[in-house]
């Protein structure tokens, strides 16, 4: 509890200590008769102790011409009740209203803390290595790009960089929501916000603090407040109309029926006026919109926070709202469904040892940095001795001829084989096929393909379970490859051989088909698909750690590249919006019933307090459920 909350708690306790005996006396339960003015005076002690700030705010509101707010409602209702001689009830309303306020303040504080703890990625300092080899603790802002910083075990990596010395395991959970630690060694890129768990790392920074991942994520989280959802806008507009409306309604309730009765001659006198005035006060207490005004923004706040803790950054509550209405999803293939790194998956028809063939191919391709060459070199897996390779001749669009260990080796596509006049075997596998010839003899072919992400299949199934009716894969890749991937993950719809601009028109087509049936989300890795990300109803970028373009263009950013998070994001948004709807329906429903009862004189002050404070506490508790999304 902070100072303010402690202060309020003390006031509540003091007021309660005064209030309880006074109430018992006034109700005649304790046989002690006090003169009426004394009782009045004594009741004012707890009333003012607990409610003076509400009275002050109401007065300030009137002075600043923001008359109609909760404080005004409470002040009029309680002051009215006290003036009418309902001392106990008037003070009780104020007391319990403050208990409700204290409760919601503590609840909000708790949930904020649990979110900020999870998002605790802001580094406090950096250990800058000085020229003489010493270490200096500096503000991360002051570290220039290219400096060497030292990260001790247990410390946060302050700035993005590349490891130059040391090896360690990193805890990335604050960034990705993923609890499994990640290994980092020399030449690995490390991101700010990760926690170094075991070894000392020397890191050469590749960005300034402001441009580092941690800063960018914090920025994004802080700016998420600027985009309000329709529900929130609805509530603030609603409160603006609603509060004055109920005030006038209460005024009418206090004046019109007794006036009518007097004129019609049904009854008259003070008792009649008092009765209707009291009903009006009860009406005011019930109508207090706190439950809605507090719980709706709190639900979104908790929903965004809960999503962040799972490595799902939503850029605003409006996007959370859109996300909950998603019924169609379009995927990019590379980097979204597949890993985007090409791997040797098979070697076929090789008369020589497969490892030997890979060795020849890797050596022949050793001067190239093409992804295909790199995948060959990775598959070979050993240090490449470039002195074994000579006479390298690259034939553009065909492949490479070279001499390896004195043996003539040719690796490339079918065209190269045709050109060299080597008869070759066609391959029915999907992927990029590298044919090889050794000493002019066909030596088989190597299949290189992109790997599916481990959760790709489950992710598609999870989306269907989450109520996504349509899932389409869009890719620039060859049709055969695309169809194979789509089959593997269980997608029935795929559009292949698309240029980036074709993807936009494809998404537009899907948008038109899906119009009126929900929203369309596009999921991509942010590379080349920024226009599509912004064209779809909602753009989801994944594996966004370190990719600025994706963070810029997308509305929802998945910090790691697990496609299962897409369905999770949708489930979180649905839960959050569900809770918002529950709260709106519950609060308005209870209030409507109680308002009618109070107008008919069937509800007393105690019912009113239950309808106000009780509903608020329940709505706040319900709103906080948005935070618990870990096992959703």
């Amino acid at each position: 509890m902070n100072k303010k909350q402690k202060n309020l708690l003390t006031r509540i306790v003091i007021a309660a200590v005064f209030f309880v005996p006074l109430y018992l006396i006034s109700e005649g339960i304790v046989p002690l008769s006090l003169p009426a003015p004394a009782l009045y005076a004594l009741f004012l002690i707890p009333y003012l102790t607990v409610g003076y700030d509400i009275l002050r705010k109401a007065a300030l509101g009137i002075r600043n011409r923001n008359v109609f707010d909760e404080c005004f409602l409470m002040t009029v209702a309680t002051a009215g009740a006290i003036a009418l001689g309902e001392l106990g009830e008037g003070v009780a309303v104020m007391l319990l209203y403050q208990v409700g306020e204290l409760f919601q303040s503590i609840a909000v504080g708790r949930s904020r803390r649990s979110i900020t703890d999870l998002m605790d990625i802001r580094p406090d300092y950096a250990n800058l290595e000085t020229e003489d080899g010493g270490m200096e603790r500096v503000d991360p802002d002051e570290v220039e790009t290219g400096s060497i910083i030292v990260v001790q075990p247990g410390e946060k990596i302050p700035i993005d960089g590349v490891v130059v010395e040391g090896a360690s395991t990193l805890n990335t959970s604050a960034l990705t929501g993923e609890s499994a630690p990640r290994e980092a060694g020399v030449d690995d890129t490390v991101l700010s916000g990760c926690i170094n768990l075991s070894g000392v790392l020397r890191v050469r920074t590749t960005a300034e603090f402001d441009e580092s991942t941690a800063s960018k994520i914090l920025d994004l989280v802080e700016n998420a407040a600027s985009r309000k959802s329709r529900s929130e806008n609805f509530i603030s507009r609603f409160a603006r109309v609603y509060t004055p409306f109920v005030c006038y309604a209460a005024l009418a309730l206090a004046l019109l029926p007794p006036l009518f009765c007097t004129i019609a001659g049904i009854g008259s006198g003070m008792a009649l006026w008092r009765d209707w005035l009291l009903r009006a006060c009860t009406f005011l207490v019930i109508s207090c919109p706190c439950a809605l005004v507090i719980s709706i923004p709190l639900s979104f706040f908790a929903g965004l926070g809960g999503a962040s803790s799972q490595g799902i950054l939503v850029k605003g509550s409006n996007y959370l709202e859109t996300l909950s209405q998603v019924t169609a999803v379009a995927f990019d293939k590379t980097g979204t469904i597949t890993k985007g790194n090409f791997e040797v998956t098979a070697v076929h028809h090789s008369p020589i040892d497969e490892a030997k063939l890979l060795e020849y191919a890797a050596l022949a391709e050793c001067h190239s940095s093409h992804p295909i060459s790199l995948s060959l070199q990775r598959a070979y897996g050993r240090e490449i001795d470039r002195s074994r390779v000579s006479d390298v001749e690259e034939i553009s669009g065909h492949g490479i001829c070279a001499t390896v260990d004195g043996v003539k080796v040719a690796v490339g596509n079918e065209k190269l084989m045709n050109r060299l006049g080597v008869p070759f075997q066609h391959c029915h596998h999907v992927g990029t096929i590298i044919h090889a010839a050794v000493n002019g003899e066909y030596a088989g072919h190597i299949v290189i393909s992109d790997e599916l992400k481990s959760h790709a299949r489950e992710a598609v199934a999870a989306l269907k379970r989450a109520g996504v009716r349509r899932a389409v894969m869009l890719t620039g890749d060859a049709r055969s490859v695309a169809e194979q991937v789509a089959r593997d993950v269980g997608l029935t719809d795929c559009r292949a051989e698309l240029l980036p601009q074709d993807k936009v028109s494809c998404v537009e087509e899907l948008l038109a088909e899906n119009a009126g049936r929900g929203k369309l989300a596009f999921v991509g890795d942010g590379i080349n698909d920024a226009p599509v990300l912004s064209r779809a109803d909602i753009g989801i970028a994944m594996g966004a750690l370190g990719s600025d373009a994706a963070i810029e263009a997308a509305d929802v950013v998945l910090m790691d590249d697990d496609p299962l998070k897409i369905a999770k994001a949708i489930r979180i948004s649905r839960k959050c919006l569900g809770i918002v709807r529950q709260n709106i329906a519950f609060a308005l429903g209870v209030k409507a019933v109680c308002l009618v009862l109070s107008a008919l004189g069937l509800a007393n002050m105690w019912v009113a307090i239950a309808a106000d404070v009780g509903v608020m506490i329940l709505a706040v508790l319900n709103a906080i459920r948005c935070l618990f999304v870990k096992h959703l």
């Binding site: 700030d53 303040s105 900020t116 802080e222 407040a225 923004p297 979104f300 706040f301």
Partner: protein, 72 residues
């Protein structure tokens, strides 16, 4: 010019009210209040004195929500 200030506010709706009040203040181009991180980010118009504008922002915020605080 953009600046970020630490704030103190009790409820999410009050944070929204503060944001609205700050946006209406003269010299403020845009403002975002994050209830989650208790930060107010203010973008100022060209060539205004940030300190003076922030004083006005604080006054306006106090008008809509007496309990709030902006640490200048």
């Amino acid at each position: 010019m953009k600046k970020s200030y630490k704030i103190e506010v009790d409820c999410a709706n009050c944070a929204n009210l503060m944001e609205e009040a700050a946006r209406k203040t003269e010299g403020v181009k845009d403002c975002v209040v994050s209830f989650m991180t208790l930060k107010m980010k203010v973008e100022f118009e060209e060539g205004v004195d940030a300190a003076a504008v922030m004083k006005a922002v604080r006054d306006n915020c106090k008008k809509v929500e007496d309990d709030c605080e902006i640490y200048l």
